[in-house]
Structure formats: C-alpha cells, structure tokens
C-alpha cells in the first residue's frame, strides 16, 4: 500500500514535466505488473476455493451420478437427502452441542486466563518475571505428544476420562491448546498500551485487580477478538485431544463423527474416473465447517483488523 501510494505521487509529479518515452515505459510496466498481480492472486485463490466446490458438488451426488463421467461439476437432480442422511448417521445435533460446550468454554477460559496472566507479565517488574515468560514460550514449543501420556494417566486417576474436563480445565490456567501463544499476544498488546490511565486509577486508590477488570480489559477488545476466533477455530478443528480423551459416543465431537461416515463402506463409491468418493462424507465435512464459516463471514473484517492492531507481527 505504502509503496504504491508513493509511486502514484511520483508519477503525478512527473506529469508536470515534459512527457518523454521514459514516462510511458514506466506507466506500461506498472499496468503489466498490476495485471500480473491479479492473475497470480486469482490463480492461488483457486487452490483454496477448489476443495469447497469439489466437496459441494460431490456431496450432492448419488452412486449413479458418480458412475456418470459426463457430470463432473454440474449435478442433475442433486441429492439433498445426502445431508439429512449425513446428519442422522453422525448424530449431528449431539455433536454440535458437544462441540459448542467444549469450544465456547475453552475459548472463554483462554481469554480470561491468558489476558490476566499476560497483564501480570506486561506491567509488573517482579523477580522471576523473565524466567516465567521464557517458560511460557518454552511450553509452546513442546509437542503435545510428549505430555499426553502422563496427562492421560493423571486424568484417568482423577476419573476425568470421557468428560470434557481434560480439554477445558487447562484453558482456565493459561495452558490448553496454544495457550502460550495467546499469553504472548496479550502481553504484546498490553506493553503497547500507555500507562497513564492505570496510574490515574492507582492514584485514585483502585487496587491492581480492579484496575485490570474495569480499565485494562475493556481496552483490550482487539486481542480478545483475535484470541476468541483463533481459540474457537483451533478447538473446533482439534482432533488430537478428543481422540485421546473422549471415547464414548455420547461425548464425541463433530470431527470424530466424520470418521464414522468415512469408514462406512456402504457410502463410499468408486467414481467413473477411478476416484474414491464418499458423498455422505463430503456432506458431513460441509456440515462440520458450516458454523465456523458463518462465524467467519460475520467477523472476518474485525478479525483482520484485530490481528493488525494486536501487533502480532512485532
């Protein structure tokens, strides 16, 4: 953006000077560059949109359509029933309810705990602070595979297996899925915040805890939004934790019920072009990402702004 603006300014300045061949050359090359940029972006966009189109058309096909090589993209009489069947087979509503419970409580936990901890790290210069921050970053680079076995035994001794607690509980203590990253995001934001307001509150006799709740937290809207979206998305898509801790069907999350659809031989067909396709699986996959997609459409603008404002990049 910046570069572009300056270039436009420059060309304006040049316009007052006599037009020479050089100017036209420059102008032409600018147009060519711009066209190339569009072509490249559209090209890459295809990589991302293609799977959705593919999923959608195939989710509407029946075995007969798959055998018909002439209908690849456009489906004659689409089988909307596939969606109903997928919903039944994967007990969609139960999974959705479980997903919402896990995802919303974990996201809330990470927003509350990570912002609280990050405030302590950003504003107070107590002994051991740098060590703690280093440990926060260290906890990020440990693969979950290393920790999962003792944690599993720990939760099984506490009788927490097949409940949502192993996933939700750590989020209220600043751990959980990528918790360290959220602490990092909040800390960066708090450090960029001017101290004046807090100092005024301190002079007025407000305790640190009150200052945090009533002054600092309301200002932290953009990192809260970023944390909320990332936490919701990552928990929604996470297959690692549920596959270890949740085994009974009553507690299964959406992503796990997709597995049931995919491995059901009766619903998987070989298409005319030799591909293995499961229309029900495709319908199920669309149903799983649909809630996320709706959320994203509504929040995407605020989300990208939030990322820019939180200074994740610095």
């Amino acid at each position: 953006m910046n570069v572009e603006n300056t270039q436009i300014e420059m060309t304006k300045r040049e316009r007052t000077a006599p037009l020479d061949a050089n100017f036209f050359k420059k102008r032409m090359s600018q147009i060519v560059v711009k066209a190339l940029v569009y072509i490249l972006l559209i090209e890459f966009m295809f990589v991302f949109l293609f799977p959705f189109l593919y999923m959608f058309t195939n989710s509407l096909k029946g075995p007969l359509h798959l055998a018909d090589i002439s209908s690849k993209w456009i489906v004659r009489n689409p089988q909307w029933d596939n969606y109903r069947e997928a919903m039944d087979k994967m007990s969609y509503w139960r999974g959705l309810k479980n997903n919402l419970i896990v995802v919303l409580s974990s996201a809330l936990g990470q927003i509350l705990s990570c912002s609280f901890i990050a405030y302590g790290l950003a504003r107070f210069d107590f002994p051991g602070r740098n060590l703690i921050f280093a440990l926060v970053l260290f906890s990020l680079i440990i693969p979950p595979q290393v920790l999962v076995i003792p944690l599993y035994i720990q939760y099984s001794n506490l009788g927490m297996l097949d409940t949502f607690w192993p996933i939700i509980l750590p989020t209220y203590f600043g751990m959980g899925l990528k918790g360290g990253l959220f602490i990092f995001i909040f800390r960066q934001f708090f450090r960029s915040l001017p101290r004046e307001l807090e100092e005024a509150a301190r002079i007025d006799g407000a305790g640190t805890f009150r200052t945090y709740i009533s002054i600092v937290l309301p200002l932290a809207r953009s990192p809260i939004l970023v944390t909320a979206i990332l936490s919701i998305v990552w928990h929604w898509n996470d297959s690692f934790q549920p596959s270890v801790y949740l085994m009974v069907p009553e507690r299964s999350l959406l992503s796990m019920s997709l597995n049931l659809l995919m491995t059901d031989v009766k619903n998987v067909y070989e298409s005319a072009s030799g591909m293995i396709v499961s229309p029900l699986g495709m319908a199920g996959a669309i149903l799983i990402i649909l809630p996320l997609f709706i959320m994203y459409i509504f929040l995407q603008n605020k989300f990208t702004q939030g990322i820019e404002r939180t200074g994740l990049a610095n």
């Binding site: 572009e4 790290l121 979950p144 290393v146 599993y152 600043g174 996470d238 072009s273 459409i297 990208t304």
Partner: protein, 304 residues
C-alpha cells in the same frame, strides 16, 4: 529477623505474582509434572497404571524405536523430510502472498476473505478428509474389489486435480506430478496465519524509508532486498518457529498418529513416551539451528 523495607514501587511490582499465580498452578499440573514424568516414563515401562509404577528399562525404548520397530523409522524420516521441505516453502509462499495482498488492489477485501479461509479449515479432520488420507487400504479393497490399489486412489482427495493429469500424462509421470501437486496444495493450506503475520509486519515498515530510497533512485527490486526484507526479519523468525510448532499437531504428521496408536491402542506407555521425546529432540535441534542461523540476520529497530 530483620524486617525488609520495600518501596511503594517494589510493593506494587510484587502484585504481579497475583496475576501469574493461575499460570504457575497450571504450569505445574499441566506442564512440569507431565513433562518430567514423561521423561522418566520414556526410560521405563509401566507396571501398574493406577499407581503410576514404573520399572526402569534404560535406553531400551529408544533403541527399540530405531532398531527393532520397523514401522517407526520410515514414519519418522518422512515427517522429518516433510518438515524440512515444507517450512521454507510455507515461508516464501506466505511472504509472497502477503506482499501481493498488501498492494492497493480492487477487491482486496474479497481476496483477503479467501486467503484467510485456510486459517479456519487448515487443520482438523475435514482437511484430512479432503486429502483422502482417511481412506485406508482395506476400505479401498472393499469398495473397488481389487486387491491392489494404486497410490492415485489413496490420494483421491479433492485438493488435487488428478483427472487432468491422468488423462494427459503417462501414468508414471502423472503419479509424480500428482504427488507434488498434492503436497504443494496441502502446504499452501498451512500458511494462513503466516500470511497474517507477514501482512502485519509489512504494514509496520515505515513509509519514509521507501520514500527516501525512491528519491535516491532505488528500484522496487532493490527496495525489497535492502529495506523490506531486513525490516521484516523478526517476523520471518517468528513465522519459521510458528510453522514448526504448527506441524506437531498437523493431521499430516505420521509420528503423532503413530505415537497415539502405540500409547493408547497398544497400551505401551513407556515406548510411546520415548517416541514423543525423539520427535521433540528433532524439533528442538531444528529450532536451535534456526535461531543460530536466522538470529544473525534479524534486525531489531530498537538496536539503532
């Protein structure tokens, strides 16, 4: 005992402990304890699960991973190879897209929506389903009725465009091209967050630098190498580390899958822990090297 006098400022700073207390509790129970017990576990064998009784077996678990277990080594090497190949591609690609998206374009909002889609869906089983890795050999046999199934069919995911390749190319060439294409589109799908981080960094580069460079007659190409790239080195480092971390829980990570299978299906807790540690050692070495190599080139604005 002598009473210690603290200034008001010091007293205030000590209140920081109140804020990090939840983290300390969480760190002990959900990190430090499992961390060390998994280290001990990796050198032992669980005899009694309820009481967490462990018998030490020395390096046996580690030796087993590389010498006895024929399944692990290829999976580990594949993951190592994928990590080392994918990370640079993701970094270069996401920087490239970030630069393009950072230009003044019509329909920028729309492009952004599309390019951040992978942030939403780049992980998880939906992704795996798209790649078709979910389909195991037995299932394929049941469907096609053939004993031998080709790689083409296992890779039947939506992301590739195999039909095009298989129609116009000879089968052998098609297979190679298709594998590359499959991996590449998968890699592109992993780069959502990285694009975001780079875009933020690019916007943080002071415009004055470009202006003065332009006055001095620098071309856009020179400006990229002399201004943009050095200015965003901190986020390159951040992105490399993030990409490495992200690959742990990647659905494509065969080592992760195998570790879960060993630990929770075969109930070999000690061996599973050892596998986790082997993977961690590898990641630790890579991150160390990245810091050593990239750390030299990183430019912090505060230094000047």
């Amino acid at each position: 005992m002598k009473k210690i006098h603290l200034t008001a400022e010091q007293k205030y700073n000590l209140e920081g402990y109140k804020f990090v207390l939840p983290w300390l509790i969480g760190f002990i129970f959900f990190f430090a304890y499992p961390f060390f017990s998994s280290l001990i576990l990796s050198f032992g064998k669980v005899i009694d699960v309820a009481n967490f009784e462990i018998k030490s077996v020395g390096w046996q678990n580690y030796i087993k991973a590389f010498v006895v277990d024929v399944d692990f080594t290829p999976k580990f090497l594949e993951t190592v190879r994928n990590t080392l190949i994918d990370t640079p591609i993701i970094i270069i690609y996401s920087l490239f897209i970030a630069i393009l998206l950072n230009k003044d374009l019509k329909g920028k909002g729309f492009f952004r929506i599309v390019f951040f889609l992978p942030v939403l869906l780049g992980t998880g089983l939906v992704m795996k389903q798209l790649l078709g890795t979910q389909l195991d050999k037995e299932l394929l046999q049941a469907v096609t009725g053939r004993a031998e199934t080709s790689d083409t069919q296992v890779m039947a995911g939506a992301i590739s465009t195999p039909e095009l390749f298989t129609t116009y190319l000879s089968p052998d060439v098609a297979k190679v091209v298709q594998n590359i294409f499959n991996r590449l589109s998968f890699i592109l799908w992993m780069s959502g967050i990285q694009i975001l981080i780079f875009m933020g960094a690019l916007q943080g580069v002071p415009i004055e630098l470009y202006e003065s460079a332009h006055c001095d007659g620098a071309s856009s190409w020179e400006m990229f190498w002399k201004i943009t790239l050095p200015m965003i080195t901190p986020s390159i480092l951040l992105n490399v580390i993030y990409t490495l971390i992200d690959s742990f829980t990647n659905v494509d990570n065969k080592v992760m899958e195998y570790t879960i299978k060993v630990a929770f299906t075969n109930m070999e807790f000690g061996y599973g822990a050892a596998l986790g540690w082997i993977f961690f050692m590898f990641i630790g070495i890579v991150i160390g090297l990245v810091f050593l190599i990239l750390g030299r080139f990183v430019v912090y604005l505060g230094d000047r």
